[in-house]
């Protein structure tokens, strides 16, 4: 932790301890989501801290104190003297606005469907901030019907069925045990156990149609399946494609550029490589970046993009 985070932690921990006569180090660690040793270090620091006091020499009555035997022998925290602090600190303006904008971003979740409750939560965050929250906002969206069905299927322990169009363009009916909902900016994904493929798969919500909550019980739940941290898993079958891209736009392809990819820059254009599972995704991606990115090779990849774009352009000539 950085010094500012450590200070915030100390200022947050003290009121939590004041509210509790006695609490174990492990309980505090679990609540704050940190390692027990971090709690012990913080308690040791708090126990010798205080105010200069009337004598300006930090006399014992001017310091926090704890029941040391309980702490050292039983791993229990008991505050026996407190100074200066009574209550939790306010949020900073930026902290409050980060939470408010985060809530707005999540407005399509069924959990956020009660708009009056969200409005009251937002106003509490504003009132609990030390200054007006910064004007950072995310457009409000309606509760997403598919997300609501996913939630319903998880809470009833049954499979979700839907029609899914893969990025290759194949349409199939899938039955899935939903495991986790993820998002990156405007794109939402469901990760789940696919009964058709008998493996964990990632589905884009906007490629799903006709979702239905079935009566078929699930065979996998989130507790049994370890999901990889990254949404897009590289595979040994991936195709590597060399591209030229305007330097300013390189970030747009960051998800596709493998670690350690060769990279050279010349006249504001970057030459590097991207990894794709097939050319169907590549041609769509490249066609949405006209004049910005070009495939250098292999020739099949260039041809796939050229055909796709030419077929699109041809529709305007008939």
């Amino acid at each position: 932790m950085q010094a500012q985070d450590k200070l915030t932690f100390l200022l947050s921990l003290v009121p939590y301890l004041i509210e509790r006569d006695r609490v174990s180090v492990t309980e505090v660690a679990t609540h704050f989501g940190v390692r027990p040793e971090q709690i012990r270090d913080a308690v040791r620091l708090i126990a010798v801290s205080g105010v200069p006091g009337e004598t300006t020499t930090y006399q014992s009555e001017d310091l926090f104190d704890i029941a040391w035997d309980d702490f050292e022998q039983n791993d229990q925290i008991v505050l026996t003297n407190q100074v200066a602090i009574d209550d939790s600190p306010r949020f900073s303006a930026r902290e409050a606005s980060a939470l408010i904008a985060g809530l707005q971003y999540l407005s399509s979740l069924p959990e956020n469907a009660d708009r009056a409750a969200i409005a009251s939560l937002t106003s509490k965050l504003s009132q609990g901030a030390s200054a007006m929250p910064s004007p950072v906002a995310v457009e409000d969206s309606e509760t997403d019907a598919t997300l609501a069905l996913i939630r319903e299927s998880v809470s009833s322990g049954v499979q979700l069925q839907f029609d899914y169009l893969s990025s290759r363009g194949d349409g199939e009916q899938r039955r899935v045990d939903p495991l986790r909902v993820e998002s990156v900016d405007a794109d939402w994904y469901l990760r789940g156990w696919c009964h058709l493929r008998e493996a964990v798969r990632t589905f884009r919500l906007d490629r799903m149609s006709n979702p239905v909550v079935t009566t078929e019980p699930i065979s996998h739940n989130a507790a049994d399946v370890t999901l990889p941290d990254t949404l897009f898993e590289p595979s040994a079958d991936d195709l590597v494609v060399t591209i030229d891209i305007a330097a300013a736009a390189e970030g747009l392809l960051a998800d596709y550029i493998p670690d350690g990819a060769q990279r050279s820059e010349h006249d504001g254009r970057v030459r590097t490589s991207v990894r794709v599972s097939h050319y169907h995704g590549l041609k769509r991606l490249l066609a949405s970046m006209p004049g910005v990115a070009t495939v250098v090779g292999p020739p099949e990849a260039r041809a796939a993009v050229a055909e796709w774009a030419a077929a699109g352009a041809a529709r305007y000539r008939s």
């Binding site: 200069p52 495991l179 906007d206 006209p290």
Partner: protein
């Protein structure tokens, strides 16, 4: 057992201990402490304080500490000495308890705590990640345990635009900024000097709502069209009354509603599925069994043309003509570049 704080100057006091001691000392004082009182008595400063000598280093450290503490939302204030205004040596520092503490009537239920945990998770990679991490610590301070969620969520807002960070800092400080902005259709970027009023995300893209300094006219700029660095000019402004972010979103929404396109989609294609799911999409009045026509809204014709071009032959734009031409020429460019 009671430990006395280390007195030996040789012993280094960790930064967080110095900051913590400063906050405690300033919370405990009614009338405030002068800088000399702080430097000579507060843990972490007093070890390095020279009674008769130059304390310039220590004073600089104190200045930085004040900034760091204020950034956390701690209302560290300065009070002028009553009989001696303007004399910096007699300025007093304190943290008024009422402005520091979370008001006692504010509490969060387990359900609300769950939602706030998710809201903070949104920024875990983003530029507000430090802020949301600290907000969570303060939330935990209240001792409420979150509900176990029905399904795991891993939401993520990645702000890819380099301009976001400097603009958000300028927003908080009320600082004028200067940046080069490339308007579509213009050959060269033009430098703008603006007072940023709000940062808003609409249709997945970040915009800054800002008043141009020379004209005083509020305008919306797309962050991805800002070229190069955003530089603070050094001048500041007083933020106007009212909810600038709500106004910005309302204006973007009006633009979005005002722009309508009619496109034909290939049945069963990726375009048909995804464009159907796009917010505000309707089946066009002119559609029939052979022609799957959708009516779509968009905010920026150039960006929307890029998006539609990605669908290749799955989409045929019917109207407006400008969008039709834009998509067609994009597809021709891509075909030529790969021919």
């Amino acid at each position: 057992m009671n430990l006395v704080p280390h007195d030996s100057p040789a012993q280094r006091v960790p930064v967080e201990e110095r900051l913590f001691s400063l906050v405690l000392a300033l919370l405990a004082t009614e009338n405030g402490l002068t800088k000399t009182e702080i430097l000579s008595t507060v843990q972490g400063y007093r070890q390095a304080f020279k009674r008769s000598g130059d304390n310039a280093n220590l004073e600089r450290k104190f200045e930085r500490d004040k900034d760091d503490i204020r950034e956390l939302g701690v209302p560290l204030e300065t009070v002028q000495a009553p009989g001696d205004p303007g004399n910096n040596q007699n300025l007093r520092y304190r943290i008024p308890r009422g402005a520091y503490e979370l008001p006692t009537d504010i509490s969060f239920s387990a359900e609300e705590t769950t939602l706030l945990n998710l809201a903070a998770m949104v920024w875990r990679e983003g530029s507000l990640s430090a802020e949301s991490r600290r907000a969570l610590l303060k939330l935990r301070s209240l001792g409420v345990t979150a509900d176990e969620p029905v399904i795991g969520y891993a939401p993520r807002l990645r702000v890819r635009d380099a301009a976001f960070e400097p603009l958000s800092a300028a927003l908080d400080r009320g600082a004028y900024v200067r940046f080069a902005y490339l308007k579509p259709g213009e050959a060269e970027a033009r430098v703008r000097t603006v007072a940023p009023l709000a940062l808003v995300q609409h249709q997945g893209r970040w915009h800054v709502y800002a008043e141009e300094r020379d004209t005083g006219v509020p305008k919306t700029f797309l962050l991805r069209r800002i070229i190069g660095a955003v530089v603070a000019t050094g001048e500041t402004f007083e933020a106007p009354e009212g909810d600038a972010s709500a106004r910005a979103l309302r204006e973007l929404e009006e633009v979005w509603n005002g722009n309508t396109a009619v496109v034909e989609v290939e049945p069963g294609s990726d375009a048909a599925t995804r464009l159907n799911k796009r917010r505000g999409t309707a089946v066009a009045a002119s559609a029939d069994a052979d022609h799957h026509l959708l009516e779509l809204h968009y905010s920026d014709a150039n960006i929307f043309a890029d998006e539609l071009a990605g669908f290749g032959p799955e989409v045929l734009v019917h109207s407006p003509d400008s969008l039709r031409d834009a998509v067609r020429s994009r597809l021709e460019t891509t075909a030529a570049d790969h021919g």
